[in-house]
Symmetry: C2
Subunit: 348 residues, 2 copies
């Protein structure tokens, strides 16, 4: 299969997207891969597989690579002889955070009729914004971690039961997130969060909460990963985060009772269907008093959560054959023709 | 001011977008206008002002116009000498329905750093889908018309109090919408609606409900239109719909008590702020038992609801100076550099 890994972007997670892409190069062994880098200025570059090393980007060496232009039907190089279409295959959107997860990349690819693996624009907007995720999940009958919302202009004089966790409504990878243990720490944590967004969520911070991650997608049927009980540290430092985004091994299935496993799987399927079709996502759940609560949807998980699947590459291939397509709309100008004949042939 | 009217699109409302654009040509008298047509195949064309007549499009004559390509920073023509940037000014997104209202056009323009008047991608997704509109409004404390949701696979054996109105969750301009007066009409109405979408809303149809439309935008402050009491006919036939999208006169302010006017204005402001910044929208409200209920958000109203404003062109100019801009994200590769030094200088 021809697969073009699209990575980078104008995102706080630009660098970990590079790490994700390098990892997927190792994971997708049988596929014919191309690499499209989006630099911080949102220019596209076609990167040779042999240059897929982190310093190629951090040193700016990528700037000597071929620039690409996206037009209807294909990415193109621009040369002396005009535009030249590059047949790169299905795009795998691996841009974490802004651009990749907020609906922009999905829109660019959809509008230009490029086949792609990614949440579509609506699924992107609902999962990129943690408040909208809650509204969406609740509308499906999927329970969520309780929350309140604070806008940057609002009074900070709020009654809270500490500890709480403060999150900007957008952004991933714990950026701008703080755990607040008492009222005197609140102001600073809100300042930090409002640096990144004008709306924040406040949730109870549940010490030692049971946490489970479920990834999956829908090909001809649902293909669900094992359920992982993730690392419990409060925050990952850069070295651990790097390990997290460069994971390519396998992990063990969480040891949980069958009823809980089924409840997690059912919640995942409710969240996924139908708006996430075409994408591989990871949902992070908490279990509190035996109840499964959706914590977050990770619409483009680090290295696509490949390490949670037995046959990741096979699944990607199957997904490529089942990508959703917008319905065609036939425009026959019957409406304008009707107006014109109603006007007695007078053309306006 | 240089303004580029973007219209057409791969949308069921393609033709009325053409009517809207022709109308705005008459309304924006002082501006230096360009016209960018998106044909049904999503190719961009630069249309001469003198060709802004409906038959130029319905006859296919537009295909002889210059094709445009959208790249970082500008729309370009493609010629013998390569790409030539066209300085067309701020884009006014006038594509009704799919492409224009679903977030795709906003994404294309945002990603490519083109200034534009339109709901941004998140506001687009929330207003394009009538179910998400309800979830969003309810989260703000704005009351909505009561509703239930039916998916295309669901049992149709539902208890309803007739009459009801059936709406596909997406699409505007009454497409796929039916009023169902008794149970034996339900099946057919659902068939029609599911032709257009896999999810429909069912709402009570309230005969003779009081309906009020409020348009506006936020420049340095809110600029609200008069409140209109719209035409009460159940459905507009094509001739009336044409009139509706080509309106350029003025209408009278609805005769309502000051308290109701204020309540409508306050609801509009809640819905608009902050995610609709950069756009001119119209909200349609019902008043039932003295309560203001949001019926729909029209993110790109027909001919931009120009006829509801005293100084539409002045407002557009003021809005152009107040368009929101995504924050810049500085990417300094400090994270990758840290990994590299942690590895003792070994580059991976």
């Amino acid at each position: 299969m021809n697969i073009a890994i699209l990575f980078g972007g104008s995102s706080f997670e630009h660098e970990i997207s590079i790490v994700s892409a390098i990892t997927l190069k190792k994971v997708l062994k049988k596929s014919n891969l191309s690499f499209i880098f989006v630099d911080s200025n949102r220019e596209f570059y076609l990167v040779d597989a042999k240059n897929m090393k982190s310093n190629h980007f951090s040193d700016g060496a990528y700037k000597k690579d071929k620039k690409l232009l996206l037009k209807k039907g294909a990415f193109c190089t621009v040369g002396m002889m005009g535009l030249k279409e590059q047949n790169l295959g299905t795009v795998l959107n691996l841009i974490h955070g802004r651009d990749g997860e907020d609906g922009k990349v999905a829109s660019l690819l959809e509008f230009n009729d490029i086949a792609y693996i990614s949440p579509r624009v609506d699924a992107s907007v609902l999962s990129y914004n943690k408040l909208y995720t809650k509204l969406y999940a609740e509308s499906l009958g999927v329970k969520v971690v309780p929350y309140s919302v604070l806008n940057s202009g609002d009074s900070r004089d709020v009654e809270l039961k500490y500890p709480v966790i403060i999150k900007p409504v957008r952004l991933g990878s714990s950026i701008g997130v703080s755990i607040v243990k008492s009222a005197d720490e609140l102001d600073y944590a809100l300042d930090v969060a409002f640096e990144f967004d004008n709306q924040v969520l406040i949730e109870p911070f549940i010490e030692g909460v049971l946490e489970y991650n479920q990834a999956g997608c829908k090909t001809s049927e649902f293909e669900l990963s094992i359920i992982e009980e993730p690392n419990k540290e409060e925050f990952l430092d850069f070295e651990k985060k790097y390990l997290d985004f460069s994971r390519s091994g396998t992990v063990n299935d969480a040891e949980i009772v069958p009823e809980l496993k089924l409840a997690i799987q059912e919640s995942f399927k409710k969240v996924y269907a139908n708006i996430f079709e075409g994408s591989i996502i990871r949902c992070d759940f908490f279990v509190v008093d035996g109840e499964v609560l959706l914590n977050e949807i990770n619409p483009i998980p680090g290295s696509m959560a490949n390490y949670l699947f037995d046959d990741f590459e096979g699944m990607v291939e199957r997904l490529i054959t089942k990508l959703p397509k917008e319905s065609a709309i036939k425009i026959d100008y019957s409406y304008i023709h009707s107006i014109q004949s109603a006007k007695g042939g007078k053309r306006q």
